[in-house]
């Protein structure tokens, strides 16, 4: 099944003909309505009139996360607040989030994109979908909620937490579509086992997973443990949230919704656009967004584009599953964590040195486990247990506030963490072997 065959199976040339006026309109829109872009374009010596072909987009500068942060909260909005009907936000590296806005048209467009993904994954009005993403500023919960409703599925907005109850709902409501992070799907299978249930015998049939990178091995594990077909979907709040791309049942790359987002892959070092088939950083330009249009956004996600025909009949470009990034961002249970956030917290605490090591593992039944090893400042050592415990608690509390996930803190001796003359090794991610 295809949700919107006219768009998703459009002829390639026809798609390009449709993209150009949308791109021109978006570039003009940001130039006229977003002072940041006007200044940026003027400084770079480009003008909306310079855009005559799709390839001309390469004359325009990239947008980075810094620009989003510097314009907190509403600086990049192209519409007045009276037109904005929803705000979402993602975590920022300094504790200030990145805020994105939607007009009613944006919300409708977004729902449609999710309906496409749901249909691709094999979800229809006959299905009951349980959404185990948090409902809040994070785009995952509400984004998938409205789209799955649009696709006609019965939605169970279970949100996160209380996994035993989630399993009870799956059983009682005959839920057959599970929507969450891949990590949570594995955890859920463990909890079901602990409850004496065979997770394969639950009513689940399909999983729509996103919010974090995951490997093919992890897909195999999830499929075996839960007895489902596991599909991946991709998105980020800066672009729209989930709904940028998703997998069909042939699972040979994620179909990008190209009629709404212009995609490029660049060399992360030089910024040069790479041909299809070459690995690089994904860059997206929104073509239809009203409230928060974005030009050439550098995602830092590493992927490869493929425009060969897919057996499902959809014609757009497909991106390889994202498994790596150009920066050091970690995704812990769906939440973005930057080592620099941890460093800036430690800098404010006199009892410790700003030397740290982040150890990520899947300990408690596949859930991401974040441990931060922190070096003590020898000058502040009082010899008191209580003081050390107070320091440990203070670090935990401050990190949890900034990161929105709670790491475990392990205090270590001064100078015990490895020093390096080059780029410091700050992260040990043991999950990569899963």
């Amino acid at each position: 099944m295809v949700w919107d065959a006219a768009k998703e199976m459009m002829d390639k040339e026809e798609l390009r003909r449709e993209q150009l006026p949308l791109l021109q309109q978006t570039i003009r829109n940001v130039y006229e309505n977003v002072p940041f872009y006007r200044e940026l374009f003027d400084r770079e010596g480009v003008h909306p009139d310079d855009l005559q072909t799709l390839e001309d987009v390469q004359k325009f500068p990239f947008t980075t996360k810094d620009a989003l942060r510097d314009n907190y909260p509403y600086g990049l909005f192209a519409r007045p607040m009276k037109d904005i009907v929803r705000l979402h936000a993602s975590s920022g590296t300094t504790g200030k989030p990145i805020v994105v806005g939607y007009t009613q048209n944006d919300i409708d467009m977004w729902s449609n994109l999710i309906a496409r993904l749901a249909t691709m994954a094999g979800v229809s009005q006959d299905d009951v979908a349980q959404i185990c993403f948090s409902y809040g500023l994070f785009t995952g919960g509400f984004g998938l909620h409205y789209g799955l409703e649009k696709a006609g599925a019965t939605v169970v907005p279970a949100s996160v937490g209380n996994t035993e109850k989630q399993i009870m709902l799956i059983q009682d409501f005959d839920v057959n579509v599970l929507v969450c992070t891949p990590t949570y799907a594995l955890y859920l299978s463990e909890v079901a086992n602990d409850m004496g249930l065979d997770p394969r015998k639950l009513s689940l049939r399909v999983g729509m997973f996103g919010g974090e990178p995951w490997t093919e091995n992890m897909r195999t594990q999830i499929e075996e443990r839960l007895g489902i077909v596991a599909t991946d979907n991709y998105g980020l709040s800066e672009i729209v949230g989930p709904g940028v791309a998703g997998e069909c049942q042939s699972r040979a790359g994620l179909h990008i919704n190209e009629d709404h987002f212009l995609v490029e892959v660049i060399d992360p070092e030089t910024g040069e656009v790479l041909p299809d088939g070459e690995e690089g950083e994904l860059v997206f330009t929104s073509l239809t967004k009203e409230a928060f249009p974005i030009i050439r956004y550098r995602t830092k996600d590493i992927s490869v584009l493929n425009r060969d025909a897919c057996s499902c009949g959809r014609t757009g470009a497909r991106m390889r599953k994202v498994t790596g990034r150009t920066d050091d961002m970690l995704i812990i249970g769906g939440v973005n964590v930057f080592p620099s956030q941890i460093e800036s917290v430690l800098m404010e605490i006199p009892e410790v040195a700003p030397h740290y090591l982040i150890v990520v593992d899947k300990k408690k039944a596949f859930l991401d486990d974040l441990e931060v090893h922190v070096e003590l400042n020898r000058e502040k050592f009082t010899g008191s247990f209580r003081d050390l415990e107070a320091v440990e608690k203070k670090i935990s509390r401050k990190l949890a506030n900034v990161l929105t996930v709670s790491p475990r803190v392990k205090l270590v001796e001064p100078k015990s963490l490895e020093r390096s003359t080059g780029k410091a090794k700050r992260v040990i991610d043991k999950r990569k072997t899963v």
Binding site: L376, R378, F381, T382, G383, S384, F385, R386, L388, K410, L411, V412, E413, P414, K415, S416
Partner: protein, 143 residues
């Protein structure tokens, strides 16, 4: 009257305690009493030695995180209820005990208990009024 105690932060990894004691031994420093309190991740080693200043310097030079704390050493009659009497005395004047550890000296008939309290002076005054002997630092180092 107070006794100098050396506290050393130790990560829970094998060989760390041996390194401390070896460093002290190599520098001819004798341990009079010790105690270790620990969590899963780290421990604090507390030491009473014959030469506290020297020990402090030696361990610092070896890269250990060290601090010096004042504690009081109390002669506790080695009989049932001996420690209880001392604790009652401190309790009555509201002196809170952070931790304590005991050892038995070679020459004394009594047990020696090392107290780390919030208010050393109040503790010593109360003990003296009850005729409980508080040892001098030099006495303890020389035991």
């Amino acid at each position: 009257m107070k006794v100098k105690q050396i506290s050393v932060f130790l990560e829970n990894k094998s060989g760390r305690l041996a390194e401390v004691t070896r460093a002290l031994g190599d520098n001819d420093i004798n341990i009079r009493a010790l105690s270790i309190a620990d969590t899963t991740d780290f421990g604090i080693l507390r030491l009473i030695v014959n030469k506290p200043e020297e020990a402090n310097q030696v361990l610092r030079d070896e890269g250990f995180m060290v601090s010096e704390t004042e504690v009081i050493a109390v002669d506790v009659p080695d009989r049932p209820g001996g420690l209880a009497d001392v604790l009652d005395t401190l309790g009555k004047v509201n002196v809170n005990i952070e931790y304590l550890y005991a050892f038995i000296g070679q020459t004394s008939q009594d047990a020696l208990v090392v107290f780390r309290v919030e208010d050393c002076d109040a503790a010593m005054k109360a003990l003296k009024e009850k005729n409980i002997r508080v040892l001098d630092g030099s006495e303890v180092y020389a035991l």
